[in-house]
């Protein structure tokens, strides 16, 4: 009878990954570039499940094998109970989001700046402001940014961080990037709220260094985007 356990475990895992791919939610867990590998994996699992059902009767399965099948089933049940969403701002704060705030003194290599200022995303702005030799040329530029609110007591008054995660491989490595945003009243926003900020880039000071801030002119609450993460490649 344990072969039915195997069958359900193998098929179940394949169904889970197919569901995630099919509903375009796989990007919430891994870099979508791996989707091909995951599909390949699912196909193999299905073949394995079918083999187990029709030809797998005689394999003697020891206790560790059964434990493994049960663990997989646990993972499957677990996945149905957990809400699929972006990582929260608390995790961004844990991962040191405030150290990712761009400083004007840092000199890094220059990135090509093709996009008009209003179309640049949050992470593009973070990269520009951190890596451009003279970010001051961007002061006065208009921006429209979407990101997650992250609040920290050590921030200047009326300031919060707008952040997004960048994922390389899977969300285990997700690292947060953030910009500082000046708002009229930080009480209106909670950690992990998604907002769209329209404003201007200007200079400000944080932790003794000159930084690029966003002075918010208009803030709207938005739904968590379908693609909350940026991917490294």
């Amino acid at each position: 009878m344990t072969r039915f356990l195997d069958f359900i475990a193998l098929l179940g895992l394949a169904l889970l990954t197919s569901f995630l791919s099919g509903t375009d939610q796989i990007g919430l867990l891994i870099n979508p570039r791996y989707e091909i590998l995951v599909s390949f994996g699912s196909a193999c699992l299905i073949m394995g499940a079918l083999w187990t059902l029709f030809r797998g009767k005689s394999i003697r399965r020891d206790r560790s094998h059964v434990t493994s099948a049960i663990l997989i089933l646990f993972v499957l049940v677990f996945s149905t109970q957990i809400p699929l969403r972006s990582l929260s701002s608390e995790t961004a704060l844990n991962r040191g989001v405030e150290s990712r705030v761009p400083t004007i003194d840092e000199l890094k290599f220059t990135e090509a700046l093709n996009t008009p200022s209003k179309e640049r995303t949050l992470t593009e702005w973070v990269r520009i402001l951190t890596q451009h030799p003279d970010p001051r040329i961007f002061f006065g530029q208009k921006v429209v940014l979407e990101g997650m609110v992250a609040k920290l007591p050590s921030l200047p008054e009326n300031t919060l961080m707008l952040s997004r995660f960048v994922v390389a491989c899977c969300i285990a490595d997700a690292r947060p990037l953030a910009l500082l945003v000046t708002v009229p009243n930080t009480e209106e926003w909670e950690n992990s709220d998604w907002i769209r900020v329209s404003g201007t880039i200007e200079s400000g000071e944080f932790e003794g260094k000159q930084r690029g801030f966003v002075s918010a002119e208009n803030i709207q609450i938005i739904d968590e985007p379908k693609n909350p993460y940026e991917y490294e490649y």
């Binding site: 891994i30 394999i59 995790t91 040191g96 390389a168 899977c170």
Partner: protein, 306 residues
């Protein structure tokens, strides 16, 4: 350590747990497919005869084999298990396991892309990883009774159990039965490893890990610790590592790039399918010390900055 963990962070931990499993399982499958193929279609005696008797050459052969298996640690472990079962010498397997995650085309290219402003990092990463793998392998070539250090006995017993009931084992059935058994064997450690890795990420804020090191020695250790805890695939860990270039020196980041692929929470658990605990402990300690030592030596002779 955190004194209070919010519900959001617990949910995040659960998502990270799932993410690790979903990301890694295709590599496990690739590994067991290769392993099954070797078991069913390749003659073990011929394979073993191809390996050089000389320990150093044997280790180098182990490294070279690794070049053709760019499947991440999760995929290399089933292959290593197959090699052990076929009677490959311990030092060959260990060198393979330690060098394969870095010495392959995909990792070399991705490191080169991530560190395009400092290409010497690529060279240092590959060369030092291979040297460390060779040294650890050579140390293990002094082992006389391989079976005391590996799970060969357990593997053989499992395999004879699994196939005892087949009267006619033709290729396909043997292949499937092997691949599926090995898949289940690996998965319990992957699930366990993912759970521990995710739990650590929730309990220990990452910025504490990276905040530990400002001085030379502590920054190296802190990056090595990060490599241990953040179980990220070596195929793309260069992109993750380069993001620390603002806070850490290139050599400290190099320590992450060398040590991470060799030893991390996930692979430590999965190695239980290959080796006895004492072997795993020894491999980990040796890799850690050699990585630390080589970075220190480089620090004396090289002055690198981003």
């Amino acid at each position: 350590m955190k004194s209070f963990i919010s519900t959001s962070e617990l949910v995040d931990g659960g998502l990270i747990f799932l993410g690790i499993i979903i990301e890694a399982f295709p590599f496990v499958i690739l590994g067991v497919l290769i392993s099954g193929f070797i078991r069913v279609y390749i003659n073990p005696k011929r394979l073993m005869r191809l390996l050089p008797k000389n320990p150093l050459l044997g280790c180098m052969a182990g490294s070279t084999i690794g070049f053709f298996f760019p499947v991440c640690e999760c995929g290399n472990i089933p292959v290593a298990r197959r090699l052990i079962a076929q009677g490959a010498p311990l030092h060959v397997v260990i060198t393979f396991l330690l060098s394969a995650p870095v010495f392959n085309p995909i990792v070399i290219v991705s490191t080169a892309v991530a560190f395009r402003t400092l290409p010497i990092i690529v060279v240092l990463r590959v060369v030092i990883s291979i040297v460390i793998a060779l040294i650890v392998g050579l140390l293990f070539s002094r082992v006389k009774k391989t079976d005391e250090w590996t799970q060969a006995e357990q593997i053989h017993k499992q395999e004879s159990d699994h196939t005892a009931c087949f009267h006619h084992i033709d290729g396909i059935d043997k292949f499937f039965s092997n691949a599926i058994s090995e898949f289940f064997e690996m998965m319990r450690y992957l699930v366990g490893g993912a759970f521990i890795a995710a739990a650590i990420q929730v309990i220990v804020p990452r910025q504490i890990l990276s905040g530990l090191g400002k001085g030379t020695i502590s920054s190296i250790l802190s990056m090595m610790l990060l490599g241990l805890v953040v179980s990220i695939c070596s195929t793309v860990d260069a992109f993750f590592a380069v993001s620390y270039s603002g806070q850490f020196s290139p050599l400290a980041i190099l320590a992450f790039l060398i040590f991470g692929p060799m030893v991390d929470i996930k692979s430590l658990l999965m190695m239980r399918t290959l080796f006895k605990t004492k072997t795993i402990v020894l491999i980990s300690l040796l890799s850690a010390s050699l990585t630390f030592l080589s970075i220190l030596i480089l620090h004396v002779y090289l002055n690198l900055s981003f």
